[in-house]
Amino acid sequence: MIPWLLEGLQCLLTLLLAPGLIGFVRLLKARLQGRRGAPLVQPYRDLAKLLDKERVVSTQASWIFHAAPFVVFASTLVASLLIPLVAAPLPFDRVGDLIVVVYLLLLGSFFLALAGLDTASPFGGMGASREMTIAALAEPTIALAIFGMGAGAGSTNLGEIVARTLAHPGSTLGSGHLMAFAALFIVMLAECGRLPVDNPATHLELTMIHEAMILEYSGPYLALVEWAAQMKFFLFLALLSNLVCPWGVAVALRPGTLGLAVAALVLKLAVLAAGIAVLETRLAKLRLFRVPELLGVSFLLALLAITSSFLVR
């Protein structure tokens, strides 16, 4: 019974903390830039407001446009069941591994890209094309990172990887680890539409990627899409922190360890979010055609990480 409650807890944590995480990054960025910034709860307010508004749907839209928000939200929510946020291994650990998590998120992007094309808007098409391009170019890095971690732990299941890292920190946290982390961090920036790949705060359609793709969404649909994007960001950060630094994740199910696990998760996310806020304050957005170079660097890092792990074994 308790493990199943844990899955529920993970789902709830993702749903509830994700907007707050975005609010935290925005607040921190504002402070770093000398602004006061919106309060931490602003994303929650935005979602509540969107849920109360009417949906304006293009006359050109087909059922794809109506279905995509649900597909992207559902697939992200299911991904939250598979990632060890506070405990490992979870009952759903053998339902999906790291590869499933990545492809579930890609499933969401796939349908959002279709929805971007569906309204016959040039912005939607442009956003869709660019979003998918970046997603495709990020795939090899992700695969190599999974390959490296999977080869180290002997499994691609997340619970297994976390448990193995906790049990033998020396053998799995090798020399390539830092490089793998850096590679995945770059991929996270690209996948979640952060600077320097995409600017989440821009107001010009032509410079946007993700925002251009979902330009036609409004009301509850937009709430779903935005919320799903926030959850994706949350899950990516949680994945990064718990794969590289799993300490704090509860292996035994006691109230004390669980409380500690939630606190550890919040702390790790806060550290990563602060890092992103600093980075986004320091960096300008790259030109679209410079992004492949950045992703190329991440691929090389991942390749180096693997080669070094082969060399030292």
């Binding site: 649900f70 492809y103 890209a113 098409g125 391009t133 999974i146």
Partner: protein, 689 residues
């Protein structure tokens, strides 16, 4: 052991149905011919599946020899687990394609379709008779048990598909496609024949059992030669880079249900040949055999999808994507051979099962997509995606099927493409355990390529579904498109359900995958390295996923969200409005993103590989060059790679062909004289020996 009565019965019904189907196409009038031929072909494919199911259940192999006057030219067939698996694969696409053909073609027969792009030849009677013969030939190739039988039906298969490609022979595009295909198919045939004869050199009648026994005594050099020739011949049939040049030409030229058979099934017969010769007859070889196959797979996967990405012709795009998928299959076959040569029997079984799984899955979704493209072609009269758009509102069921196929081929969970690619990735991961760093690093690079291919396939199929089916129609033809006949939708629906079922219920494929390689040398008969149950396990249970549970979770989550919204009392108001266009008054299809534009970012990223040529003509206003009168932009991507490989070959072949022409006068008398001379020479030779 001799085959059971039921197996012979099923195979007999299969052969008789196919032949009757061909006869019906020639005997009956147009409409009735289509119906009778289609139904009989479906019956033939179904009985083939029946025989295969019995063969799989029985295990072992059953041999059937047909009486013949010449022992060397006896027809001999055998049904073992591998043949049964491929017979099932033929039926998997054969049945829906036959049902689909019931409705395909009548409305827009040849000539009614405008433009060179849309020409197809379903209305031509002999073409209809050739389709069942093509199916029969493919079935008999996988059942063949001697060199002679194999080569005979291989050639029948190639010739049948050649005639389907050229159709009536009145379109220059089809004729050119046919020439490419005939040339490469026969070069491939020569290589296969050389490989098999070399392997059968010491045997009496060229039976596969004899070759299997004699293979151990072959000199290493001869073994390598057999393998390389087989790889060349079967690789050209399967369409691996750089032997793929015929494929994007021939597949689009054939009628769409034939394209489905060619891409979905015939390419896999090439893979079957490689497995039969390399693994079964030769019993595997040194690691570099597998490494070579793996490298070919990596190159094909990446090259295929990159070519597909920039393609605007829907059927050519699908054909290039077949090159990609054959590449993925070859990656898995390569790993399997590598594992086998290192004596890792369990992992080898897993990798080969993954290859077969992907082959079956590719048959399902590529068959589906080709049938879908045929439906679009019939409804709009064009294969050019830039002239389509908005078809989802006009052909909703075709669109749904095409979407299922696109999602499956993009390897997205929980559909079948994901399940098999997951298994292939796990096989690569297991390859990290190979004690040679170079091989292990190759596995990592293959994994990276596989992922890039998967990502690019997602881009490609967002385009292949989004541009034709979504947004506004770009031409009047697309505007007037309507849903295709029920039989065609049924054919697509069958394959779409196969894509869902093979993905969500992987255990449905388990009996085939775990038995197909039964008794092959160097593989484990009880493959413990993978398990396909409710939970799919790979690497002896190290990694596991459950597509079934995943699909249920997705369904539950997708259903719970609207419910939660209603409970939370969120707004349900909906207003229809024009798409936002920065204040522009009227929405027009000219503002839509095009297929070319969609692929533009990747075309720039991979510009070094594509080498696009573009011309830009701007006519300025005479007063000021800040005002533009007209802009003409043209961009073309030439397959420079094919030029580089094939041009020198053509240069070499042309003078030779010119010399050969000296004896080809076209006079019947002369040919009879040749035959008599050859007969005399042979008789003399026999006497003298």
């Amino acid at each position: 052991m001799p085959p059971s009565f039921e197996v012979i019965g099923f195979l007999g019904i299969m052969a008789v149905s196919y032949i009757a189907a061909a006869a019906a196409a020639l005997l009956f009038e147009d409409d009735r011919a289509r119906r009778v031929t289609g139904l009989l072909s479906a019956a033939g494919a179904l009985s083939g599946m029946g025989a295969a199911a019995l063969g799989l259940a029985a295990g072992g192999s059953s041999v059937l020899e047909l009486p013949s006057a010449l022992p060397e030219a006896a027809l001999e067939f055998s049904l073992d687990a591998l043949s049964a698996a491929y017979l099932l694969l033929i039926g998997l696409v054969g049945v829906p394609a036959a049902i689909y053909s019931l409705g395909y073609g009548p409305e827009r027969a040849v000539g009614a379709v405008d433009g060179a792009l849309g020409r197809h030849s379903t209305g031509w009677r002999p073409a209809r008779a050739i389709v069942p013969l093509f199916l029969l030939a493919m079935s008999l190739v996988v059942l063949a048990n001697s060199v002679f039988t194999f080569l005979l039906f291989w050639e029948v298969m190639s010739l049948a598909s050649y005639f389907l490609v050229i159709g009536r022979g009145d379109s220059p595009e089809n004729l050119s496609a046919g020439r490419w295909y005939a040339g490469m198919a026969h070069a491939g045939f020569a290589a296969i024949a050389a490989a098999l004869w070399l392997a059968a050199a010491g045997t009496e009648a060229g039976r596969f059992e004899e070759i299997r026994q004699a293979a151990g005594m072959l000199a290493p050099a001869a073994r390598h030669a057999v393998f390389l020739l087989a790889l060349l011949g079967f690789g050209s049939k399967a369409g691996v880079l750089p032997l793929h040049a015929w494929l994007p030409r021939a597949h689009p030229a054939a009628p769409s249900h034939v394209s489905a058979l060619m891409s979905g099934v015939m390419l896999k017969i090439g893979m079957y040949g490689l497995l039969r010769v390399g693994l079964d007859l030769l019993g595997g070889g040194p690691p570099w055999w597998g490494g070579l196959v793996l490298a070919l797979g990596v190159v094909s996967a990446l090259g295929g999808i990159l070519s597909a990405l920039v393609e605007n012709d829907l059927k050519r795009l699908l054909a290039y994507s077949s090159v990609e998928n054959i590449g993925i299959i070859f990656i898995a076959v390569g790993i399997g051979l590598v594992f086998q040569s290192y004596g890792m029997a369990g992992l080898a079984s897993m990798a080969l099962a993954a290859a077969l799984y992907h082959a079956i899955n590719h048959a399902a979704f590529k068959g589906l997509l080709f049938l879908g493209s045929g439906a679009v072609l019939q409804a709009t009269g064009t294969r050019n995606m830039e002239e389509m758009g908005g078809l989802i509102k006009r052909m909703p069921q075709t669109a749904l099927c095409f979407l299922v196929g696109s999602t499956a081929i993009a390897a997205l969970p929980p559909l079948n493409g994901f399940a098999s690619e997951w298994m292939i990735f796990q096989s690569l991961l297991a390859g990290a355990a190979i004690p040679y760093p170079l091989m292990a690093a190759m596995m990592a690079i293959a994994a990276g390529t596989l992922a890039l291919t998967g990502g690019l396939a997602a881009v490609c199929f967002v385009k292949a579904f989004g541009i034709p089916f979504l947004a506004m129609p770009r031409t009047a033809a697309a505007e007037e498109a309507r849903e295709v006949p029920r039989t065609m939708r049924l054919g697509m629906g069958l394959l779409a359900s196969a894509c869902v079922l093979l993905g969500v219920l992987p255990f449905a494929a388990a009996p085939i995958l775990s038995r197909a390689f039964f008794g092959m040398p160097g593989l484990s008969d009880t493959p413990a390295a993978f398990r396909l149950g409710l939970v799919m396990e790979a690497g002896a249970g190290a990694s596991a996923i459950s597509p079934t549970a995943l699909a249920l979770c997705l369904l539950a989550a997708g259903g719970a969200i609207p419910l939660a919204f209603r409970l939370a009392g969120s707004s349900r108001a909906l207003r229809r409005a024009e798409t936002w266009g920065c204040g522009r008054a009227v929405q027009s299809p000219r503002m839509e993103y095009t297929s070319t534009a969609f692929a533009e970012p990747l075309r720039r990223v991979f510009a070094d590989l594509y080498r696009p040529a573009k011309t830009l003509d701007i006519e300025f206003h005479p007063e000021s060059k800040y005002f533009v009168r007209s802009i003409q932009y043209q961009s073309r991507i030439r397959a420079w790679f094919e030029d580089a490989v094939y041009r020198p070959l053509f240069g070499l072949a042309r003078p030779l062909a010119g010399t050969g022409r000296l004896i080809q006068s076209g006079s019947l008398h002369l040919y009879i004289a040749y035959i008599v001379a050859a007969l005399l020479a042979l008789l003399l030779l026999a006497r003298w020996m």
